[in-house]
C-alpha cells in the first residue's frame, strides 16, 4: 500500500471496476480510523470459524462522523459464534451488524456486493472474494433494493422510516451514475453531489432533509419531483429485457 493511497483522508467512494467487474480495492486493506483499528485488534484473536467484516466510515474514513455506527457484516454457522462475538465486542460503540447465515450469504444482493467488494475482513477463515459483474443487472438489482417506487413522495423527518427512505432515495442517484457514466457509489455525500449535477434543487432538498434528520428537526419534504426524475432517467438509461 503506497503512501499515495493513504494520502487521502477517505477511501474513494466510487467502486473500482476492472475488466467489467467490481473488484475489492486494495485501499481497503488498510483501516483508516483509529476506532476501526482498535476494533480489529480486539477481534484478531476471535477464532471460532465465524467471519467478521468491517465496512463503512470506520473502514474508509480517517475521521468518521462522531455519531457514526460501527458497520459490521458477520457470516456465521451457529448461534454460539454470535454469543462469543458479543462477549468480545467493546460495549461503548453503537453497532449496525448484519448477521448472515453462511448458507444464505448470497441471498441479499446488496449485502453480497458489500461483502465482496467493500468490506475488510477482521477475523475468521479468509473469504475468497468474488468479483461482481458491473453490468445492467447489477444496476437493476440495486434499483430494486432501493425501490424508489416504494418511497413516499412526501418525506417527514419525524417518521421512524425517514432515514431509511432518505438513504434509499439518495442511493438511487448512485445507480444512475453507474448506468450513465459507469461510476457506482453508495456513499451518501457523493450521491447527493450526483443529484446536484442533475438539478441543484435536488441537492438542496436532500441536504435540507439530511440536516433535519441529523439534528432531529421536524421537516417535511416533497420529493415527488426527484422520484419522477429517477423514474424517467432510469427508463432512458436501460432498455426492455
Amino acid at each position: 500500500m503506497s503512501s499515495a493511497d493513504l494520502s487521502e483522508q477517505s477511501a474513494s467512494p466510487l467502486w473500482p471496476v476492472m475488466d467489467g467487474h467490481f473488484i475489492y480495492p486494495r485501499s481497503l486493506d488498510v483501516i483508516r480510523s483509529e476506532s476501526g483499528r482498535s476494533l480489529a485488534r480486539r477481534l484478531r484473536g476471535l477464532d471460532n470459524g465465524m467471519q467478521v467484516f468491517l465496512r463503512g466510515s470506520r473502514l474508509e474514513s480517517e475521521e468518521p462522523f462522531h455519531r457514526a455506527d460501527c458497520d459490521l457484516l458477520v457470516v456465521y454457522d451457529s448461534r454460539d459464534q454470535i454469543r462469543e462475538l458479543a462477549a468480545v465486542l467493546p460495549s461503548n460503540i453503537i453497532y449496525d451488524i448484519r448477521l448472515i447465515p453462511r448458507a444464505r450469504h448470497a441471498e441479499n444482493f446488496d449485502v453480497y456486493a458489500l461483502l465482496h467488494c467493500r468490506s475488510h475482513q477482521l477475523c475468521g477463515p479468509p473469504m475468497q472474494r468474488t468479483p461482481i459483474a458491473a453490468d445492467s443487472d447489477f444496476a437493476w438489482r440495486h434499483w430494486l433494493q432501493y425501490c424508489p417506487a416504494g418511497i413516499p413522495s412526501t418525506l417527514d423527518s419525524r417518521s421512524s422510516h425517514a432515514l431509511f427512505h432518505f438513504k434509499s432515495l439518495v442511493r438511487c442517484f448512485g445507480v444512475l451514475s453507474f448506468l450513465r457514466e459507469g461510476k457506482f457509489t453508495r456513499d451518501i455525500h457523493t450521491c447527493i453531489a450526483i443529484a446536484g449535477e442533475r438539478d441543484p434543487a435536488f441537492a438542496h432538498k436532500l441536504i435540507g432533509l439530511r440536516n433535519s434528520l441529523e439534528r432531529a428537526h421536524a421537516a417535511t419534504m416533497d420529493v415527488h419531483d426527484i422520484l419522477r426524475h429517477l423514474s424517467t432517467e432510469f427508463d432512458s438509461s436501460v432498455g426492455d429485457e
Partner: protein, 658 residues
C-alpha cells in the same frame, strides 16, 4: 459479555456518540457521575441536568464554576451557599440576568452584582429583585436598569418616574407602551415625545393626553408614522377618511376592522385596505365585497380572501381559477359551479389536498378525474374514503391460470406505505372459471421490523400469501431470515426503546406453511393459526408453487414494474396496464395434482388428492410413506413435463415413471 466498567475516556466516547440521546442515569456509571471530565464532556456535547448530579458534585466549587460558565441557567438549582457565593453569582448574572432573582438576598444587595446583572442583557424586571433600598435610591443603578430594557421603567421605584434624567434615558430608547403609560402628564401631552412613543409602539396612542387624542393634526402625524395606532384612535377619528387612510397606508390592512361603518363602505378605504392585506375584505360592507374594483385588487393577495368575495364573484370562473392556485384558498366556500369545475378543482387540490373534501359530488364519482387529482397531489388519499380507495387505487396482481385456477392479489399501493409495520393487501382470492373458491381478506403481504441501531431501518420479517401447488392451496409465511444485532441472543435489547425485542429462541427466523382446506371459502388473517400447519422451521422447506408475491424482492419488483415504463432483468411480472400485473408462470413442484411439500415429522412428501378433500389428503400422508406416494404416481396417466420428470428424480432418486 464484557463486564469491566467503562473508564472516563470510554464514557466520554459514549457521551460524544449519543449526545442529546444520552441517558445520564443509565449511561454514566455511578462512580463517574461526579467526574469533572465526564461532566465537562456532557456540557460540551449535550445538556446537563444539574439536579441529577450527586450531592458531592453539586457542592464541588470546581464543577459549579464549570457549570455556571457553560450552563448558567442551572444556577437556580445551585445549593444555597453557592447562590450566596459572590464569584459564582457574578459569573451567572454576567451570562444571564435571569439568574439574579435566584441569588441570595445578600448578593441581590451587592452593588457589583446588581450592576453586573443590569449590564448584561437584563430582564425587564431585574431591578425589582434588588434587595438593598439604598441601591434603589442610586440614580446610576436606575439609569442602568432603564437603559438595559425598555420595559424596566414600569418596575423602578415610583419616585424615579418623574426624574428628567431617567425619562430622557427611556425616551432615547424605543419607548414601550407599558412605559409611556406611566410617563408624567406633561410628557404624554408633549407632541414630539408622544409622537415618538406612538412611532415606537402604536399602542402608546391609547395613552397620549386627552388634548392630543382630540388633535387631528397629531392623529395624521401618528397614523403616518405607525398605522398600528389606528385601532386606538378616538371614535370620531375612526370616521375621518384622511386619518384612516394614512393609518392603513402605513400599517396593516386588517386594521380596517376598527374603523367606522361609513368608511368600511368607502371605495378608497377598501382599496387601500385590501391592497395591504386582502383578508381585510371580511370587514368591509357587502357593497364593497361585491365591488369589482375591490375584488380585482384582492386578486394579488392570498387565496384566503376568496371566502369573503360576493357571490357573483365567487362564481366567476376566471376569478376562482386565479384564487384556486393561491395559498389559503378553500373550496369549502365555493359555490357548486366552482366545486364542479375540473381545472379549478385540480388547481385547488394541487395547492392543498384538504380541498378534496369539498369537491363537487359530480366529480367525486368520476374515477378518471380522481386519478388525475391523485397525480397532482398524492395526499388526497388521506381524505379519500375507503370505498373509493378500493375502487380506484387498487392494483391487481394476477397469476396465469394454473390447473384451472387463478390467484389474484389486490393492493392499494399508493396509500400509506407501511401501516403499523405491515404492508397490507386488500385481499387475495382464488378463482376457478371465474368463481371464487377462497377469499382471504385484508392481510399483511409484508411484515416489517424497525431495525438497526436506532430502529430506523425497515427490515422485512416475512412475506405472506396464498400459494397454489397442484390441487392444493396453502398459506405461506416466508421468513426473510434477516437478522441484525438487535435480534441477538444476548438477552437484552440492544438499545432500550429501539428495535424489535431480543429473542430467546430462533423461532422468529422460521418459515410457516399452512394447508387451506377447500371447505373454507372465507379466510381472515387472524384465523390462519387455526389452519393445519404442516411446516415450521428455518430451512427453506417451502413448497414451490404459484404465488402473487413470494418474497420482498418480488414486492419491490411489482412496485417498480408498475412505476417504470421499462423493465429490466428476469422480471417475474408483466405490466398489463397502470393497475394490473400478471405473474409470469413458473414451474410448480407438483404432478397429477399432487403437491410436493415438506411436512414436519415426515419430510418431503407428495400430498395426494383425495376425494374427501385436503384434510383427508393430509391424514393419508401421515399414515403412509414415500413408497406409497411413488406407487400412486406410477398409477396415474397423463402427460408429464420434463420438469416433472426431473422433480421425481430429485425426490425419489430414480426414474419413477421409467
Amino acid at each position: 459479555m464484557n463486564t469491566t466498567p467503562p473508564n472516563v475516556a470510554e464514557v466520554c466516547a459514549i457521551v460524544a456518540a449519543k449526545q442529546y440521546d444520552l441517558n445520564f442515569t443509565t449511561d454514566v456509571p455511578d462512580e463517574l457521575k461526579s467526574d469533572p471530565e465526564v461532566i465537562a464532556c456532557i456540557l460540551e456535547n449535550c445538556s446537563l441536568d444539574f439536579t441529577k448530579l450527586p450531592e458531592q458534585a453539586q457542592n464541588d466549587p470546581a464543577i459549579l464554576r464549570m457549570v455556571v460558565k457553560e450552563a448558567p441557567f442551572e444556577y437556580e438549582n445551585f445549593p444555597e451557599w453557592a447562590r450566596d457565593d459572590r464569584d459564582l453569582t457574578l459569573a451567572a448574572v454576567t451570562e444571564t440576568a435571569d439568574a439574579f432573582k435566584y441569588a441570595s438576598e445578600r448578593l441581590r444587595g451587592d452593588r457589583d452584582v446588581v450592576s453586573a446583572a443590569l449590564s448584561a442583557r437584563p430582564s425587564y424586571d431585574t431591578i425589582a429583585f434588588v434587595s438593598d433600598s439604598s441601591l434603589l435610591d442610586d440614580v446610576a443603578i436606575i439609569l442602568q436598569a432603564v437603559q438595559g430594557h425598555n420595559q424596566a421603567y414600569a418596575h423602578i421605584p415610583e419616585q424615579w418616574r418623574a426624574d428628567p434624567a431617567v425619562l430622557d434615558a427611556v425616551i432615547a430608547m424605543d419607548i414601550d407602551a407599558s412605559s409611556f403609560q406611566l410617563f408624567p402628564d406633561a410628557y404624554r401631552d408633549n407632541d414630539e415625545i408622544a409622537l415618538k412613543a406612538v412611532t415606537d409602539d402604536g399602542s402608546s396612542y391609547e395613552y397620549v393626553s386627552a388634548r392630543l387624542r382630540a388633535d387631528r393634526t397629531f392623529a395624521l402625524r401618528a397614523m403616518t408614522a405607525n398605522g398600528d395606532a389606528l385601532r386606538y384612535l378616538p371614535e370620531e377619528m375612526k370616521d375621518d377618511k384622511e386619518v384612516v387612510l394614512a393609518g392603513l397606508k402605513a400599517g396593516d390592512g386588517l386594521q380596517v376592522s376598527g374603523i367606522s361603518d361609513r368608511l368600511k363602505s368607502d371605495v378608497d378605504v377598501a382599496l387601500t385596505a385590501v391592497k395591504s392585506d386582502n383578508r381585510a375584505l371580511q370587514y368591509l360592507t357587502p357593497e364593497r365585497r361585491n365591488d369589482e374594483r375591490v375584488i380585482n385588487a384582492c386578486l394579488d393577495g392570498t387565496g384566503a380572501a376568496y371566502e369573503y368575495f360576493g357571490d357573483r364573484f365567487k362564481s366567476d370562473i376566471a376569478i376562482a381559477t386565479t384564487m384556486a392556485g393561491k395559498w389559503g384558498f378553500s373550496l369549502e366556500h365555493a359555490p357548486d359551479i366552482i366545486r364542479n369545475t375540473r381545472n379549478i378543482v385540480r388547481r385547488a387540490v394541487e395547492t392543498d389536498a384538504n380541498n378534496y373534501k369539498f369537491i363537487g359530488d359530480g366529480l367525486k364519482e368520476d374515477m378518471d378525474f380522481l386519478r388525475e387529482l391523485h397525480a397532482v397531489n398524492e395526499r388526497i388519499l388521506y381524505h379519500v374514503d375507503d370505498d373509493i380507495k378500493n375502487r380506484l387505487f387498487v392494483t391487481r396482481i394476477k397469476t396465469e391460470e394454473h390447473r384451472g385456477t387463478v390467484l389474484e392479489l389486490a393492493l392499494t399501493l399508493e396509500d400509506s406505505f407501511v401501516d403499523g409495520n405491515q404492508r397490507l393487501a386488500l385481499g387475495s382470492v382464488v378463482t376457478r372459471a371465474g368463481t371464487p373458491l377462497v377469499e382471504l381478506s385484508r392481510f399483511p403481504v409484508l411484515v416489517y421490523e424497525d431495525d438497526g441501531p436506532i430502529g430506523s431501518y425497515l427490515t422485512a420479517r416475512s412475506t405472506n400469501g396464498l400459494m397454489i401447488v397442484g390441487d392444493f392451496l396453502f398459506f405461506v409465511r416466508r421468513n426473510t431470515g434477516a437478522e441484525t444485532w438487535s435480534n441477538h441472543l444476548a438477552g437484552e435489547k440492544f438499545a432500550p426503546g429501539w428495535g424489535p425485542e431480543a429473542q430467546t429462541t430462533t423461532d422468529f427466523l422460521n418459515h410457516e406453511v399452512y394447508l387451506v382446506p377447500e371447505t373454507i371459502a372465507h379466510l381472515d388473517y387472524a384465523s390462519i393459526p387455526s389452519l393445519p400447519r404442516i411446516y415450521f422451521g428455518s430451512e427453506d422447506n417451502i413448497p414451490r408453487g404459484v404465488q402473487a408475491i413470494a418474497t420482498e424482492d418480488h414486492y419491490r419488483e411489482a412496485l417498480t414494474a408498475l412505476e417504470q415504463k421499462k423493465n429490466h432483468g428476469k422480471s417475474h411480472y408483466v405490466r398489463v396496464d397502470d393497475h394490473t400485473l400478471r405473474v409470469k408462470s413458473s414451474p410448480a413442484d407438483e404432478i397429477f395434482g399432487a403437491a410436493r411439500v415438506f411436512v414436519d415429522g415426515h419430510g418431503w412428501r407428495f400430498l395426494i388428492p383425495h376425494d374427501g378433500g385436503a384434510m383427508k389428503s393430509l391424514e393419508r400422508l401421515r399414515q403412509t410413506d414415500d413408497n406409497d406416494d411413488k406407487a400412486w404416481i406410477r398409477q396415474q396417466t397423463g402427460e408429464v413435463t420434463a420438469y416433472q420428470r426431473e422433480l421425481l428424480r430429485r425426490h425419489f432418486g430414480d426414474d419413477v415413471l421409467g
